[in-house]
Every structure is written in C-alpha cells, then in structure tokens.
C-alpha cells in the first residue's frame, strides 16, 4: 500500500474511473450549497447542524424501490386543514369518484362549467355552523389540484375551509368541510391580564405540608384534627385557590 508522507491537500492520483472522484467533487460545502439554492436560502444554524448531522456521508446506494408504491388516494373522503405559520395554511383533500358522479347527475350541464373552489371562512371566537363566519374568501383551484397553500393574511384567527364547486351563477356547493385551525399570533398578545397558577399536584403537597404531613418527627396532624378546632386561632387565612386572578 502506498504510504504518502504528508497529508495531501488536493490529491490528483485518484483514477478517473473511480466512483470516489465524483464524490470528492461534490464535497466542499460551498459547492454543495450552490447546487442547492434552497438550502442556502434557508441555512439557519439549526439547519446547518442538522445538515452536518445527516449529510456527512454521500447518498447511499439504495436497492431499487419495490414496484409497490403508496396509493394515490384512499377510500376516505376528506379535507384536512393545517397551519404552516401565522399567515399560511395548507389543505389537502380527496373526493371520491362516486361523489363526482352524483354531482354530475344533480347539476346536469352546469357541472361542467363549475369551478373547483376553496371557500375559506374566518371563524374566530365563534361556534361555526356554516352560516355565521365573520367573512370568507374564495380561491379557485386548478381542476386537478388535490392540495393548496392558503394565504390568510390573518395571524391569531381561526379558519375553516370548504372544498366545493362554484357554479356559473355564483352559487357555491360545498362538497367537503375541513377541521378548524387557528393561526398563531405574529407578535405579542394584546391581553395583559395576568393569571397565576399553582398546579394541583404541587398544591396538594403544599396543602399536606401545611398540615404538617411531611414532618420529620413523625406523622403529621390530619386535616380532620386540624379542623376539629384543636388548632383554631383567630386568624387562619383562607386557602387560596390554585388559580388566582391578579388584578
């Protein structure tokens, strides 16, 4: 085996046929980053450390994937709504063929001019019944779309989405209704009322301690004994509620 005496900075001796050479070319971080603009754009420190964690070796030679793949859809008809950040939601849906067939029958010719549409309801602070949203807006989606990112421009609000058909006459027919989600605030809350809390289990322990139940000298006094009047004094404070409002 060759024994080079020094660490070689740029080794040229690798055969061109060697698969290693290709890998070497890929290695410098700067080059890799250039090849993946998406990473460069998002390279927060957490991402960098995780990249290092997961990418210190090149792509593994994987066996060929099995012919079997995940199904395109499932037997369950649904629309799901998820929160991406204070402004954006993500929704995916699946409508069964039988539902489309039924709609075709019911709507006749107007089915073919109808536009698949997402109706996005602002349902903040209400029990949404389908009619009482504060407001809604529509997004016309492409006929083959099965998912969509929705710009709500509304941090700190609650949302529900219907997937449906918008007819030429403007009428909206709901096919699926989503779960309700809330976008987080993008800044501090306006609410400044403070509420302080002592968890029940700690309170229970403290309550016991108050009656001397952890006395190292032996068994403490039971609550029953305490309230029998044996320890009564003029000014026993009231036991505070574990949740206490502070004005």
């Amino acid at each position: 085996m060759a024994k080079p005496r020094k660490v070689l900075k740029k080794k040229k001796a690798v055969s061109k046929k060697s698969p290693a050479k290709k890998i070497i070319k890929k290695r410098p971080l700067a080059k890799r980053k250039k090849a993946k603009p998406s990473i460069k754009a998002i390279a927060s420190p957490e991402i960098i450390i995780s990249q290092v964690k997961f990418s210190s070796v090149p792509e593994a030679p994987m066996p060929k994937p099995k012919p079997q793949d995940l199904p395109a859809g499932y037997a369950r008809e649904r629309i799901v709504l998820q929160v991406r950040d204070p402004w954006w939601l993500y929704s995916y849906w699946q409508v069964l063929g039988s539902t489309w067939d039924r709609l075709k029958q019911e709507l006749g010719d107007s089915f073919f001019s109808a536009k698949p549409t997402l109706r996005v309801y602002d349902v903040s602070f209400i029990n949404f019944d389908g009619t009482n949203a504060h407001r809604f807006f529509d997004i016309e989606v492409t006929p083959d779309a099965r998912s969509w990112y929705i710009d709500t421009q509304g941090p700190g609000r609650s949302w529900c989405v219907d997937f449906g058909l918008k007819l030429a006459n403007g009428k909206f027919i709901t096919i699926l209704r989503s779960n309700i989600v809330s976008t987080p605030l993008d800044g501090p809350s306006w609410l400044t009322d403070e509420e302080w809390m002592l968890p029940d289990d700690i309170f229970t322990k403290l309550y016991g301690l108050g009656f001397g139940q952890s006395s190292p000298t032996g068994k403490g006094w039971s609550k029953k004994v305490f309230f029998s009047g044996a320890f009564a004094s003029g000014g026993m404070g009231s036991m505070s509620s574990p949740v206490k409002k502070k004005k």
Binding site: I42, I47, F54, E59, L70, V83, Y92, E195, W196
Partner: protein
C-alpha cells in the same frame, strides 16, 4: 448570593437507522459518529466533573430512538468494529506522519481519543444509556424524553391519537430505561401546538422546552418574558422557553464561537484528503469516500487555504469563549434581576451534536464553562427545569403560541413543496390505526403482535427527520424510502389484520428489522 439560574439543555436525537440486511450501511454512520464525537466526549466530561466533585446541573434529551439504538446489540457490535477500524487507521497515521511536527501530534491525539472511546464503550458494557443513567441517578443530570420517534406534533394535530401514542410510548420507554417516569419532554423540533399540553399531562409530564416565541407571543402576555416558565392554562404543564441571546452566541454562524479560526475545520477530512489506495480500507466498501472523523486542519479563515490544527490553541480559545459566555450570562442575569425583581432563569437549549460532532471543541467549552460557574463566580446557579419548578411552584398561566425552533419558527421546514405529500398518507395511517384499536381492543397472539408492529411502523413513518431531510435536499432518496417503506408495511399490516390473513414469516421479518419499543402496547393509540 446567586441572582439567577442557567439551565443548559442538550437535545440528543437521531432517527432510527438500523439495517441488519446490509453488512455496511452508510446512514448507520450517523450513530457511530455521534457516539465517538459527541456522546462519549460528553460522558467523559461528566465523569471528570463527578470525579473532581464539581457541582453542576444539566438537562439532556435522549430521544427514544437514540436510546433504542444505543442499547441495540447489533449496532453495538457494529460500533466496536467501526471504532476498531478508526484505531487501526489512526495508528497507521501515527506511522505515516512520523517526524512531522504539525501532523504527528494530531495523529496521536486521534489515536488516543479513539482508544478512549473504545474503553468507555466497553466500561459501560456496550450500552451508553447506562452511563447517562448513572449521572441522572447521581443527581447532576436530568434526562428528559422526546416524541417516540421525533414526530413533529403540530402537523399531527388532526390525528391526536398519534400525538398521544408518540408521548405515551416515549414515556413508557423512558421508564424502562431509567427506572422512573420522565418529568419533562423535549417536544420534537420544539413543535408546540396549543392543547397538546393536555396529552403531556396525561403521561405525567410536568414541563416541556419551547422556542422563545411560544412564550413571548402567548396569550396573555408573559410578565417575565422568557425568563420564567409559564404554565399552560388548563393542564398546568410548564413551558420553559429558549433564551435567544445565549443561543446566538453559540449557534450563530457569524458571531458564534464555533466559527473561530483556531477551531477545527469540519470539512477537511482524511477520508477525502488522502490517497485512495491508502484510505480505501477505511471508507465504504464500494469505494465511496466518507468522513473518517480524522481532520487535521483548523478553520484558518474564510478561504480554502487551511493551516494545521493546533490543539493547544483551540483549547485556549474554548476556555476563553467559556469565560466570555459566563461573563455575558452574569451581566444578563444581573440586569434581569434588577428588572424583574426576581431570579431569572436563562434556558439555553442546543442540539447535542453541536458539541463535538460539529463543534469539535464544544465539549471542552462546556467543561470549562461548568467549572468556571462552579468556582469562579457566585451569581449564576445551574439548575434543571424540575428543580426550578420545585423552588418556584407558582407561575403565570398562559396559552403558549404555536411554534417550533425550525426554519422561520413555525412548520414550514416540514410542510413545503418537497414534503407536503407525506401528510395525506400519514394521517390516513393514523386514522387506520385508531380504527384498528377500536376494532381489536383486546386480542392476543399473532394479531396482537401485528397490531403492535403496525404502531411501530406508523411511529417510524412519522419521524420528523424524513420530512426535514426532504426539505433540505440531501439524502432525499433515503428519507422518501423510509417514509414509504414504513407506510407500506403499515398498510399491509392493516389489510392483513382486518382480513385475518397475516403472514407470520413476513411479520417476524419486519419485527426483527424494526425492532425498537419491544414492550409497545398498540392500545395507546387512541
């Protein structure tokens, strides 16, 4: 008298990567590298601190998948093989660099380090979980749990039984590893979604760690900002939020310590630098060059030119940076103490692999910091979240804001064009799992085994790591394959269980491959 607390939290996690079907599997190196470069150096540091009677308190996540891999016999055997190869290579390096005053000391350094790794690994009977447990039992380390497979909870909200399963399986797994229930949890990716604290409460968890804006944007406003924990309204589970100032000092690629020119350069590795014939026995058998972990250069500067590493200089820098970090915390705590009129807690969470794997001198820095805090000052007191809550049981009740510590602070890292396709399948699988639990509330034998394996496969598919890797664009093929393979296994189990047509041979095969959580009970998924 101390005026405030420092709560250092290291998050240790790796996805479950175990491929008995291959003799050599590149992604298994993630574990071996982490053991050599992070976990053993941390264990050795804890040992020295304990031996020297240095008072310290630290908090650490050991994710259930990491615990499973650290306790796995096959992976342990493979690690021994791996470290032996490195010892052999470093011994050759000592010979090869003979007479070279720059490189030979480094070759010796690596040889000694690798030998120490093997000794440590053997001392703990090939299971490093034993080491961490001993420091927890000694009272200096608080180990917290994590989601069973590091599933990202905010994007699982639509199927809460899966969030519950992630938490319950993790807590039960922790209990078997450490002999007591976990008190706290690292929410995977610090992903908090309002309401999930109730699920944590059901598992007996008292606190979790979040990013700063979970608390800063909480409703109502937090009186003490991130410098005191808050309780989640209703559940009374405490939320400790990250302090960004101390985070930045370590994390930041511009101002952060790890970028110092005296520190070791990560991207110059012997596996790529040396003659192919020489290095061939120590890289992948297919001839693919990989990192060996032997790196001879310091960062030097911004350009490509690199100078040899000088261990003493780097060590001095680590001491200097530890002093700087402590000084800044003293100032911060002093200021906050005056402002808040109570002792602030500075929560500084880091990815464990930052220390050693990425920032080679990280464990040294940490040890200097801990020793300095113990001996050189009396303003800062190290504390764990459990200890803080015992001392400060009354805290403000709020609803924390949905958040994560990932890119942009919310869910976009795990929900973008490259990975959003997975949720349709993951959610369907969750629904199916819930359906199976309802339909088979009490079964035994083969069906029970299949139901338990179905939950294992579902949990493995849910690892946030796969979506993350798809999002970053490296190793995508592997992440896609893992997501699909676990879902395909799950779907087949679902069909076979329902039609009572289980193939015992096939089931045994996937049980022995995806063999984590041996005591799992599928009924937690509800």
């Amino acid at each position: 008298m101390h005026k405030g607390y420092l709560c250092l939290v290291l998050h240790g996690h790796l996805p479950f990567v175990r491929h008995p079907e291959h003799e050599d599997f590149l992604e298994e190196d993630w574990l071996y590298e982490a053991i050599t470069e992070t976990y053993i150096p941390l264990i050795n540091m804890f040992e020295r601190l304990v031996a020297d009677n240095v008072h310290f308190r630290m908090t650490m996540t050991l994710s259930p998948t990491l615990i499973s891999m650290l306790s796995d016999e096959l992976l342990s055997q493979r690690y021994i093989k791996h470290i032996n190869r490195l010892i052999e290579l470093s011994a050759k390096e000592v010979e090869r660099t003979a007479g070279d005053q720059s490189f030979q000391p480094l070759a010796y350094m690596y040889r000694d380090n690798f030998c120490r790794c093997r000794d440590t690994f053997e001392r703990y009977r090939h299971n490093l979980v034993n080491a961490f447990k001993s420091f927890q039992d000694a009272g200096c380390l608080e180990i917290i749990t994590c989601g069973a497979t590091h599933g990202y909870f905010p994007l699982m909200d639509v199927c809460q039984p899966s969030v519950r399963a992630q938490v319950q399986v993790a807590a039960a797994h922790y209990e078997r590893a450490f002999g007591r229930r976990p008190r706290g949890i690292w929410l995977p990716e610090c992903g908090y979604y309002p309401g999930h604290d109730q699920i944590l409460k059901e598992a007996g968890l008292k606190f979790f760690i979040s990013d700063a804006h979970a608390v800063l944007h909480a409703t109502p406003r937090p009186k003490y900002g991130v410098f005191a924990p808050v309780y989640c309204k209703g559940s009374a589970v405490a939320c400790f939020a990250r302090d960004l100032e101390s985070s930045k000092q370590v994390w930041s690629s511009i101002e952060g310590y790890p970028g110092d020119y005296n520190y070791r350069e990560f991207y110059r590795d012997l596996g790529f630098d040396l003659d192919f014939d020489y290095i061939k026995p120590y890289i992948h058998p297919d001839g693919i060059r990989i990192n060996t972990g032997i790196k001879y250069y310091r960062i030097t500067g911004t350009g490509d030119h690199k100078e040899p590493y000088v261990a003493d200089w780097a060590r001095q820098k680590a001491a200097e940076h530890a002093g700087n970090f402590m000084f800044n915390r003293q100032k911060q705590i002093d200021h906050l103490y005056g402002l808040l009129e109570k002792k602030p807690i500075i929560v500084s969470p880091y990815d464990a692999e930052l220390f050693g794997h990425w920032w080679y001198e990280g464990p040294q820095w940490l040890e200097f910091l801990i020793r300095k805090i113990a001996f050189d000052q009396d303003e800062i007191s190290m504390i764990t979240p459990s200890e803080y809550l015992a001392e400060n049981p009354v805290n403000q009740a709020v609803v924390p804001s949905m958040s994560s510590w990932g890119w942009k602070g919310y869910s976009e890292m795990w929900l973008q064009g490259s990975n959003d396709w997975i949720y349709r399948h993951l959610h369907e699988a969750s629904e199916r799992m819930t359906e199976l639990v309802k339909r088979f509330p009490d079964v035994n034998g083969l069906t029970k085994r299949a139901l338990n394996q179905a939950l294992r496969e579902l949990l493995l598919a849910q690892s946030s790591d796969w979506a993350f890797i798809m999002g970053t664009g490296t190793h995508v093929e592997y992440a896609v394959k893992r997501t699909k393979d676990h879902l395909l296994n799950f779907n087949r189990l679902y069909e076979d269980i329902k039609s009572n047509s289980l193939d015992q041979g096939w089931l045994s095969g996937i049980e022995s491959k995806d063999n984590l959580f041996t005591e799992i009970d599928y009924r937690v998924h509800q």
